[in-house]
Amino acid sequence: MPRRTTELLRGGALIVVATAVVLFGFGANNYQLQAGTTLAMAVVLCLAWNIVGGYMGYPSFGTAAFFGLGAYAGGIAQTYGLPMGLAWAAAALVGAVFAIVLGAILLRLRGHYFAIGTIAVVEVMREIANNWDALTGGAIGLSLPILAGSPRFAGIFFYLAMWALALLALLLTVAVARSKFGFGLRCIRQNEDAASMVGVDVFKFKVAAFVTSGIVIALAGAIYASMVGFIEPKDAFNILLSIEVPVMVMLGAAGTVLGPVIGAIVYVVLRELVWVNFINFHSAILGVIIVAVIYFIPKGLLREFSLTRWRKWTAPPAPAGQG
């Protein structure tokens, strides 16, 4: 197919899906709305993580740090009387600044050290939120002003807001994947020293990726905070979130545009179907999913079941020496 046609088809598909998502929002009952919003949030977080963890290949477990930071920044701004939209913008700004500072420090580390560093940041942030009573309300939590209008209106509003952010994250990912920036990130994933040698400004690229990802995650946190109306440290800075998100991305396929979306959908649907019935075994089931993903589909569903792979199976074997 000519490239132009493919592009048109993709654009058309996106519009169809987006329309379906919006229509579903207006027709759904409360449970479906809530599940839909959860799904949208998972998609957002996965796409954002994918820029750092997938394209750049840095094992970040800092998702919860940015999410919690966004939730608290937005929440605190709202309790001080800022309108919701401005509070979300403030959260994005705080996320960006935090990502620059943190990135400049942590992105010097590699491998295990980077992973440990990001986890430590989540722990430190949670303790700060726990203990800084005057600003965050401490362990008791922080209550936000409730959105005016009926609960149903609020439900639809946040559903659409979250999906709008998901769309933004998707377009951002497409832009990253097709740009020189994304190419540079992929170079860094393959070999950071070599990338630096051929002229990729490694440090700047890494911080830029961290900031892009951080802003989106902080925004998701802020929208989440406005939606639930109440946040507490152990929820906002939940280390499980830092693990779940990469697992979802891996389930789909890291370092691709659609992988994180597919992973998030499969994971959230699985969770809704299974966890409702086994509430006591919540984390055990998550554990089983993680183990299964790593043993059986380490490259992700998208790559396992992709067309190219199908062709490779059906095509005659490649001549020796081509790997």
Binding site: P59, L109, E123, V124, N131, P246, V247, A284, L286, G287
Partner: protein
């Protein structure tokens, strides 16, 4: 007064050294972050508690029983599950072990419930140079230090210990010399679990234990290993004592609610400024 804080810091620091040494060993040899470590500590503690309470044997023997069981458990977990991902990128091994940890931890909460348990031994306390030292704490410290020392000695002098060090220096060269690397991996993991169980047993003498604490123990192991330099036994000792002192004095300066945070912040600083740890070079013993 200051001397009392120093003494407390040293007492808890020795426990911390024992807590982290297995974690550090596994990191050094297998090059993986053992997220299960905290869970191993809690399992060891529970085994000590149950053995002592149900069978009525002394806490020391119970702790050793717990160690033996955990060695076998660790050996099997590595051989059957973790060995598959040992050569994979950090992200894969980390996530897999985290998944295993979620499974075991959930099982523990279901099996043991989240209620804190402890051995509640009261041997009184002795007075030394005007300091009051609880005998149970001294015993826990002795147990921790003896086992850490024994591990250090074994690594340097036993055949298996030298094989472990060889694998850690260069796994390919070690394989060429006829060392069965997968077996060394599994035994190392078993030793790591054993040391975790020992720390758990010692901690059970001093603190109430719940399955929910596994994350705390894991976090402390992280901090200690980074402080002392990831992957060395003396490093774990230095890091453990450093964290013990830090928490003891941090409580005076910042208040007890910040003690965890102080540890983590210091760890981040060390990670960035001096990734080889306070003890300096990357050790091999």
């Amino acid at each position: 007064m200051i001397a009392q804080y120093v003494a407390n810091g040293l007492l808890i620091g020795s426990l911390y050294a024992c807590l982290a040494v297995g974690f550090s060993l596994i990191y050094g040899v297998l090059n993986i972050i053992n997220v299960l470590h905290g869970t191993f500590v809690v399992l060891g503690a529970y085994m000590t508690i149950y053995c002592a309470q149900l069978l009525g044997i002394s806490p020391l023997i119970s702790a050793l029983v717990g160690c033996a069981v955990m060695f076998v458990f660790g050996y099997l977990v590595q051989r059957l599950l973790i060995n598959e991902v040992v050569a994979a990128p950090v992200f894969i091994s980390f996530t897999l072990i985290f998944g295993l940890d979620l499974l075991v931890n959930n099982a523990m909460i279901q099996g043991f419930t989240a209620t804190p348990r402890s051995l509640l031994v009261d041997y009184g306390s002795i007075s030394l140079f005007g300091l009051s030292l609880s005998v149970a704490r001294l015993g826990a410290m002795a147990l921790a230090l003896v086992l850490t020392g024994a591990l250090y000695w074994l690594l340097r002098h036993s055949q298996m210990g030298r094989a472990i060090i060889a694998v850690r220096m260069d796994r390919h060269a070690a394989a060429l010399l006829g060392i069965r690397v997968p077996r060394v991996y599994a035994i190392t993991f078993g030793i790591g679990a054993l040391m975790a169980a020992a720390a758990g047993g010692a901690l059970a003498l001093v603190y109430p234990i719940t399955p929910l604490l596994s994350g705390v123990f894991l976090g402390k192991s992280f901090v200690i290993c980074v402080l002392g330099g990831l992957g060395s036994v003396p490093g774990a000792l230095v890091g453990g004592l450093a964290l013990g002192m830090l928490e003891s004095f941090g409580t005076i300066v910042f208040g007890s609610q910040w003690s965890t945070t102080v540890g983590f912040v210091l760890m981040l600083l060390v990670l960035v400024l001096r990734p080889t740890g306070l003890a300096g070079r990357k050790g091999y013993e």
